[in-house]
Amino acid sequence: MAKPRVALFITCLADQFFPQVGESVVKILRRLDVEVTFNPEQTCCGQPAFNTGYRDEARSVARKVLDLFDDADYVVAPSGSCTAMVRVFYPELFQDAPALLRKSQDLQKRFFEFSEFLVKVLKVEDLGARFAHRVTYHDSCHLLRELGVDEAPRQLLRKVQGIDLVEMQDYKLCCGFGGTFSVKFPEVSVPMGQDKIRAATETGAEYLVAADGGCLMHLAGLIHRQGLGLKTIHLAEILAAQEK
């Protein structure tokens, strides 16, 4: 079988704030003998506009995404949220435009979040990573409830050498990021995040790990503001780690 061609959809958030997440994804996929491509024409999936109720603006950005990955067998994104946008909400956005709807349905079949791609498509769990720390995994809501992925990230983490994976109280509870909710309702978003950080801290974990840059940016910002010791990290970074 020929090497699968996987196009990376980096997501605008990881591109701008967490480029190391993208490097980790590339490193892992190459180790698994996958051909990774990156189309520099990509920007954002359009979710911020869609989430805020500006559907025309979201559509105009999403249309561009539909044309970016024609030659890829799969598209992989290190984000449950952006993946949900493409897989769940693109078909809704284009429901009245048959040609674009067909394109979005084709993309839908090939588009995967990183952890689910590893476990469900490549069928690997052990990536030979080593990360000797106590970590707790935060289920990001779009990954959990729009894509129904809850076990894959945990399966991958359990195979990491030296890791101590613990569950926090109410691990399914939203962290309060919610896209533009975070700036429209900061009075609610902030205390929701504080609850999450408290739950993570109570486990004695050194790292709070998640598979979505949005949650991580929100939680890290809260932790830094409060001067707490808890660290945040993206799942891909742990899976790429080879520390001694």
Binding site: Y54, R55, F181, R225
Partner: protein
Amino acid sequence: MIRWTDDPMTEFTDVHSNEIHKAGSETIGNARLAEAYRSSTLRLFTHRLNAIGEVPGFERLRDAGREVKRHTIENLDYYLAQFADNVERNGGKMHWASTAAEVCRIVVDIVQRSAAREVVKAKSMVGEEVELNRALEAEGIRALETDLGEFIIQLAGDRPAHIVAPAIHMTREDVSELFVEHLKAERTVVPEELTAIARRALRDMFQKAGVGVTGANFAVAETGTVVTIENEGNIRMCTTLPRVHIALIGIEKLIPRLADLGIFLRLLGRSGTGQKLTTYTSLLTGPRRPGEDGPEEMHVVMVDNGRTKSLADPTMREMLYCIRCGACLNVCPVYRKIGGHAYGWVYSGPIGALVTPEFLGIGQARELPFASSLCGACREVCPVKINIPDLLLHLRSEAQEHAPKPSESLLPERLMFRLWAWGMRRPFLYALGSRFARWGQILLARKGWIRKIPMYPASQWTVGRDFPALAPQTFRDRWKKLGSK
């Protein structure tokens, strides 16, 4: 206060849904209130989890419930006519009300014709919605709420803070205070004693009242039966003791057959309070027959009040499947924080964020669809699987289209997103923008973090969080090295 108009939709002036930010902050800042919401929602949430765990195939039950509701709503005209025919055949009287004002006028007329001066009321969200108590009081008719929670709310001059637990926000100390003040009761915080005080006050009214007003949990089309479920027995008192019974029913409460009821009784009790069944389930089919108990007259008021507008909308129609169990409130992290009153009208939580803008018009409640992190926990517990986050997203676009918020910055939000989309469609502008932003942040960032951003909406982020500085290099820049490997 209700201002009656001739518009097809009643204009409510006592709606504060767009002040949700202020009201929500007040709950969050009030330690006692915040704790009441936290502990009560957690209790109901846990009860539900335990109760559904006992039922094998609860998922299939949810699917069945959803399918019955979908079918009924899609064929509502047929079932409404069938229900109405059967109510009249059973000796009941049908009334049709398209607005809150009409509901009130119909009820006032019936009460006045019966020459009653006192009305006992069972808990009814439709009754709250149309503000029936005010209308009755304006005509000199005394209306007493007989559900314990509603009774407390009425004494406090308050609104329900939860769909099934109206006084969820009050502690027993609060209730004790109220009873001392309004009922001249002795001070006690023992729940049984508080209940006994309420019972004495209610018993007297049950004996005097000439009319009982209730809502309905379900209305069975094939038999013309009104179904009520409860735990206190007060609804049964309201429907048997007074000479006249009036049931207020939203048109979405219909189910086709008596055989369908079993699905919903199991779904509703377990989803709402975690009970297998509520203590009382009453099936009311017409007024008393010779030799039987019950009221001499039974009136059924079918209420539209905005519902047919949602019915006409193929997307929002799904909202009408709701059986008002309150499970979405208990699980919602936003409701848990801001509480029921913050939603500014009678319905709260995720379902309230759909119902309120739909019933009152988007302008009156344009902020509600945004009061959600779209986490989807509500959809996960909904007994009829209403896709609440998706409907909230739909209403968000309605809000931006028809009721844009006054701008909070020099650049209106829509224009901001237009520019954003324009840039995002052009990779070279995106790349140029990221260059500029990296120069710009030199002034703001210290050690990789930004403490305060002066511009809206980022300023809203730094209210309680630090903002990470942009990485020195974007991924696309790093790819130039990575890619060549």
